[in-house]
């Protein structure tokens, strides 16, 4: 990348800061309205009680638990993609990491709100800290999610520091400049600072992977530690982790494609990036398919009394349309679409990703709802249909992710400038230390 391209890159990356065109305000308005509708539905629910939802005595977990698993899963793609790309020192990552990490944080916050939305007595949430019973998977979730939340914030923040300093230096003296100055922690690009930052990012890239795995494992154990058919499965934790990464990478593809187009990043985020991300998508999808076959085959072969009704309902019964839509339209077809020979277009990658994301939501539905509705006392199937409250909250929460992102990128560069400079060798090296973030074991 020559100096002129690099300058253009800087211009594009920081273009959105403080920039509010009509498109921005319209998006802000539409997304905020959707979020406000969701908040209204939640207030309505708190005032009246959970009876306003479709939940009932038999199916006492529904959309909220599904959404919790789904959105936290989405947040994985961002964190893991960025961590893996940093650790393997993939140079092409530079324009993507910021969007990926910001998506991770946004989706995580949305997902983490869901267990609270689901509580019958949210006013007592403090009891989780006052009287925690460590044997409960709910407490494991609390610990794992909050740890991961802090880690993913740090993971977003660290690479942002040099860019914050650049923004600080471009501002006139005033309050805004002081705020950026505080956030930049006195960054001046000194060799010692560069060294410390590389080290910090390297540590976070290593840490975020086991943390992310732990979060989805304990989410899986929420189900797997019960004796319900279809839930009490040893493969659940790795299955959940893979599902999360799969849906997460799909989400990164879509978010990157949208920001590429709207923010005019076409020159720097190219088909190549989508091809590489699609490789990840295909690999994860194949892995997921394998885990899923392994789970269903062993269960269906033995057909224990507790699992038989659930499998029957999923394969041929009332949940069959959802299950086969997921398997074919949400997994096999999109993987084939992404893997097909010929030039992979961005539209094709996005179509595949959208189908995968919808499919993974359906799969979570197929885990939670039949597992709840199944006849644990024989002869007693439950029913579940969400009301407008759950649907409005779901839509509002989904809108919260792009809302957080567009607001975030109004204040911070959409692509990491410093990282690109470093990858391109434009940053002065101090005595030939690590070649790039996270790379090399010598620091």
């Amino acid at each position: 990348m020559d100096r002129r391209t690099l300058a253009l890159y800087r211009e594009r990356a920081t273009w959105s800061i403080g920039h509010g065109d009509k498109k921005f305000w319209v998006s802000l308005f539409v997304l905020s309205s959707l979020v406000a509708a969701g908040v209204y539905a939640y207030v309505y629910q708190v005032q009246r009680g959970l009876w306003v939802t479709g939940l009932n005595q038999k199916v006492s977990w529904g959309f909220y638990i599904i959404n919790c698993v789904f959105f936290i899963g989405i947040s994985y793609g961002g964190a893991m993609t960025s961590a893996i790309l940093r650790l393997t020192n993939a140079k092409w990552r530079a324009p993507l990491t910021r969007i990926a990490e910001a998506t991770a944080v946004a989706a995580l916050f949305v997902g983490a709100v869901y267990p609270i939305i689901d509580l019958g007595r949210p006013d007592r949430i403090i009891y989780l800290l006052q009287f925690p019973q460590v044997g409960s998977p709910v407490v494991w979730d609390l610990v794992a999610i909050s740890t991961y939340m802090v880690a993913s914030l740090v993971f977003l923040y660290l690479p942002l520091i040099p860019d914050l300093a650049t923004t600080r230096d471009s501002l006139r003296p005033g309050l805004l400049r002081r705020i950026y100055g505080m956030l930049a922690l006195g960054w001046r690009g000194l060799p010692s600072q560069e060294r410390a930052l590389r080290r910090g990012i390297g540590i976070m890239a290593v840490l975020i992977i086991p943390l992310a795995i732990s979060v989805h494992s304990v989410l899986a154990w929420l189900f797997a530690v019960t004796v319900r058919g279809g839930w009490h499965s040893t493969i659940f934790a790795p299955l959940f982790v893979l599902a999360a990464m799969l849906s997460g990478v799909a989400a990164v593809i879509i978010v990157v494609a949208v920001f590429r187009k709207v923010y005019g990043l076409q020159q720097f985020i190219t088909t190549k990036h989508f091809r590489y991300l699609s490789y990840l998508l295909i690999a994860l999808g194949m892995g997921y398919l394998y885990f899923m076959v392994s789970e269903y085959l062993t269960e269906a072969y033995v057909l224990e009394e507790s699992t038989a009704p659930v499998l029957e309902a999923i394969f041929t019964g009332s949940y069959a349309p959802a299950f086969w839509s997921f398997t074919i339209l949400g997994l096999v077809f999109p993987l084939a679409l992404a893997a097909l020979p010929g030039r992979l277009t961005i539209a094709r990658a996005c179509t595949a990703s959208a189908l995968v994301i919808a499919g993974m939501w359906l799969k979570r539905f197929l885990i939670v709802v039949p597992g709840m509705a199944e006849p644990i006392m024989p002869w007693d199937w439950g029913r579940y249909a969400p009301t407008w409250v759950e649907i409005t909250i779901t839509i509002g929460s989904a809108a919260a992710i792009p809302l957080i992102l567009i607001v975030f990128f109004r204040f911070f560069p959409v692509m990491s400038v410093h990282e690109m400079e470093e990858v391109e060798g434009a940053v002065e090296r101090s005595g030939g230390l690590a070649p790039a973030y996270g790379g090399g074991g010598d620091d």
Binding site: R48, G49, L50, G120, R121, P132, G135, L222, P378
Partner: protein
Amino acid sequence: MAGQLSRRQLLGTLGGLGTTALAAGFVPLAFHEAGAAETGPKRQWAMVIDLRKCDGCKDCTEACQEVHHLPKSFEWIKVFEVEDKQGGSFFMPRPCFQCENAPCLRVCPVAATYKDDEGIVLVDQERCIGCRMCMAACPYGARYFNYSDPPIAPNPFQHATPEFPVPQQKGTVGKCMFCVHRTDNGELPACLEACGMQAIWIGDMVQDVATNGTETVRLSRLIKDNDATRYKEELGTGPRVYYIAGHGQHLEA
């Protein structure tokens, strides 16, 4: 009158029999720890339900709802109609099984649900945060969530207690607790009293006695002589409710 049969009276008369049964070595039913009868809790409650007698009238459910001031959808003791393998059907009332190894206890994040020293699984509705993890964990569907405010109930106690959680609190979980507020006062559980068929027996595993309100027998003999079984025993939850099945009645139908 059956309902007035005092537990103390009952246990006083039949305590001797219980000791004999323990000495005779009826191990499966004996209280686990040696010497528990002397040093441990006085009672360990169990229930025996005679499926041969149950006619599915649901008087037990209604009596329970009346005593606890519950809405109709709260069937703390729920009567299931079960099809047997000969094409007929029979009825199976399901209270809480007060499992010895209760899955619902471990999963509670705030320890709102606990077991008292007589083996009854209770819920402290002042503590419950309403996450419903216990409902997911219970393999018998014995727990009920208060989605809305319960019907207004006159409360004979000053405050609702885990032993007598009336009125139920919105946003928390409730369940059958073998009417401990009654057994503590020498009365029989409401469902048992209401059962016109005398199909429900309440028993004490320590003293080894059981009564259905009209008869009083040795609990271990009642279970053994009638081949009483526990529902989904293979899960290892150790239910404290036994079922006496009749000809053709099979719980795993």
